[in-house]
């Protein structure tokens, strides 16, 4: 092979790989399966542009990538505490409120939080809660309650379901649940309370089948696992799968009366976004009730959009874990980031829990 052929080959391989920027494109950095295809279709029709999605499966992935300097995203959908990190890092573009009149549709309860005071950078998109999921037939058979964290943590109940329970493999989520069970805030940072929570977890651990953050949907649907500490969207999904497979049981959501963790995902615009104009158009479009309802109908996510309620399937609307009643809503908490010292302590407790027999 001579030099010329080589140069041609290189040139050819690069020509093949050259990105095309001819059309109007909106780049959406999103969780997988976190926007309804029909919403995208409708937006593409109105804006005469193309929506191109790239996915992440964890807030840390998004943060790592953006912090290292990756550019080119217009709209991203991080969870509240990640929004706060992005704001601190100066990674976001302030949102021009005059361009998104539909912001009025959002329930004021979800606006102006400590994560982004005044919503200068972020607009609530959708949310989920971390709750109890259970096999209705088995729980009824065993006569267990499904509206309290006690069923996950109290050996008195756990003896009956030993080996049929999983909890999330996440120190933050599990500590939050245990703190709630003890009557503290999920964001409590008192080391004494953390030790109490760790003791609760260690006492319950022998009854749990596993720490599981991904396959518990499947385990619930198949009927191997009867009780989980998990995300509301996942439990909704498990029930849909169980129904599709004609199982003789349902997978239901139990909202603990002690309260639970709430995770709100927000639309933000990356600083230096190629198309901030399209980004604002997109955000305003998603804030229309009908469009926002699409996602809830698809995956059973919570919806902060008051205008969306009339488009949401009634069977989803009545789920307390998706649309919590007012008294429960007051007991839901979004997790705040921990300081380095706090994280170190939590990791230490978590390691001890994991290592304990």
């Amino acid at each position: 092979m001579n030099g010329k052929t080589f140069a041609l080959l290189v040139a050819a391989s690069f020509a093949l790989a050259a990105p095309a920027y001819a059309k109007d494109e909106l780049h959406l950095y999103n969780w997988n399966n976190y926007i309804a295809p029909e919403t995208i279709k409708r937006f593409e029709d109105t804006c005469h542009c193309e929506v191109i999605q790239t996915y992440y499966s964890d807030n840390d992935e998004l943060l790592a990538k953006v912090a290292a300097g990756a550019k080119g995203y217009d709209v991203m959908v991080p969870t509240s505490n990640a929004v706060q990190t992005l704001i601190r890092g100066g990674q976001l573009m302030a949102i021009d409120k005059t361009a998104i009149p539909n912001l009025k549709n959002i329930d004021p309860a979800y606006l102006n939080t400590a994560f982004d005071p005044g919503n200068r950078y972020s607009v609530p998109y959708a949310m989920s809660t971390t709750i109890i999921g259970y096999n209705d037939v088995k729980m009824k058979e065993l006569g267990l309650p499904t509206d309290t964290w006690a069923v996950i943590f109290d050996p008195k109940y756990l003896v009956k379901v030993k080996g049929r329970v999983t909890v999330l493999d996440s120190a933050n989520e599990l500590f939050a649940a245990a703190l709630k069970y003890l009557g503290y805030s999920a964001n409590d940072v008192d080391p004494k309370h953390w030790n109490e929570a760790a003791a609760v977890i260690r006492k319950a651990k022998p009854y749990w089948a596993a720490f599981n953050a991904s396959s518990y949907i499947k385990e619930l649907t198949v009927g191997n696992i009867w009780l989980v500490h998990g995300y509301s969207n996942d439990i909704f999904q498990a029930n849909q799968d169980a129904e599709a497979a004609h199982r003789p049981f349902h997978i239901l959501q139990g909202m603990p009366k002690e309260g639970a963790v709430l995770a709100v995902d927000n639309m933000v615009i990356q600083k230096g976004a190629p198309r901030p104009d399209l980004a604002l158009k997109f955000i305003n479009f998603v804030l229309v009730g009908r469009n926002s309802a699409d996602l809830t109908n698809l995956i059973g996510s919570g919806n902060p959009n008051l205008d969306a309620m009339k488009y949401i399937k009634p069977e989803i609307l009545k789920l307390p874990a998706v649309f919590p009643p007012k008294d429960i809503q007051a007991k839901l908490e979004q997790l705040k980031d921990l300081t380095v010292a706090q994280r170190r302590l939590r990791n230490k407790l978590w390691t001890e829990i994991k290592a304990a027999k």
Partner: protein
């Protein structure tokens, strides 16, 4: 030939089962008529039909192929040159530079490349991913080619030179044909490494650039359906075809003996 005892057979069987049973399960379950795919329900080709209509998955597969082909072509050329140079001259720095990317943890390569691309203001996309893949593939190609050269009879090249061939012609008509199996093996290796790379791709891919591994990984949380099995089955098939073709082109490729050079 030594007589192989039952123990050897047994351990070979276990080893092969360990390697291939999981793959076989993936293939079988790609025909499973259950979205959940937790137990066998019935035979269907629906997932392949669904795959054919899944724009995102097809685009991702297309990107993976484009990147894989360009990365393997370029890294094979550069890697062969490096392999030849490392074999022919007593170089100290070159082997280090070529082989370091193999030894450096992927996550480090990924992050440093991302920061580097950002510094140079390179738009992240297919090009940046291809460059990143070329970077870590060169070393693998160079190693394979150098190993091939080490088993080659040096006197053949010298004879060609004695007969008046220019250095280029001696390489083109004597050395290159002899090391072709190594070059092809290197190219195949580069292609497969590129096709399934996740970590480096994750960092160097920009907005809108999705490869197959990125797509599958992002689906893990909620939507692993037999469609993932179907796409994996097709990938395995492609790899199989590649290996069989390579073995046809160069029958000695998959054997470690040096018979073709003697």
């Amino acid at each position: 030939m030594r007589k192989s005892g039952p123990w050897l057979w047994a351990s070979a069987l276990v080893a092969y089962a360990f390697l291939y049973v999981p793959l076989a399960i993936v293939v079988v379950y790609s025909f499973n008529d259950s979205r959940l795919n937790a137990e066998w329900v019935g035979f269907t080709l629906d997932w392949y039909r669904k795959l054919a209509g899944d724009g995102a998955m097809i685009a991702a597969a297309g990107n993976s192929l484009v990147i894989g082909i360009s990365a393997s072509v370029v890294s094979t050329v550069l890697g062969t040159m490096a392999g030849v140079a490392m074999h022919r001259y007593r170089l100290r720095v070159l082997p280090l530079l070529i082989l370091a990317p193999i030894a450096i943890p992927e996550i480090l390569t990924g992050v440093s490349l991302l920061i580097f691309f950002v510094m140079l203001n390179v738009t992240l996309g297919l090009v940046s991913v291809a460059i990143a893949h070329i970077t870590f593939c060169i070393g693998f190609v160079a190693i394979v080619v150098r190993a091939r050269l080490a088993g080659m009879d040096e006197t053949l090249t010298e004879a060609a030179r004695d007969c008046g061939a220019s250095p280029w012609n001696a390489f083109r008509y004597v050395t290159l044909p002899l090391i072709t199996p190594g070059v092809i093996a290197g190219a195949l290796m580069a292609f497969t490494l590129s096709i399934d790379d996740f970590v480096i791709t994750f960092f160097t891919a920009g907005a809108g650039t999705i490869t197959l591994p990125l797509q599958i990984y992002s689906m893990i949380k909620i939507s692993v359906t037999p469609e993932v099995n179907a796409v994996s089955t097709l990938l395995m098939l492609l790899t199989l075809v590649l290996i069989v073709t390579a073995a046809r082109i160069s029958p000695t490729l998959l054997r470690s003996t040096q018979e073709s050079t003697s």
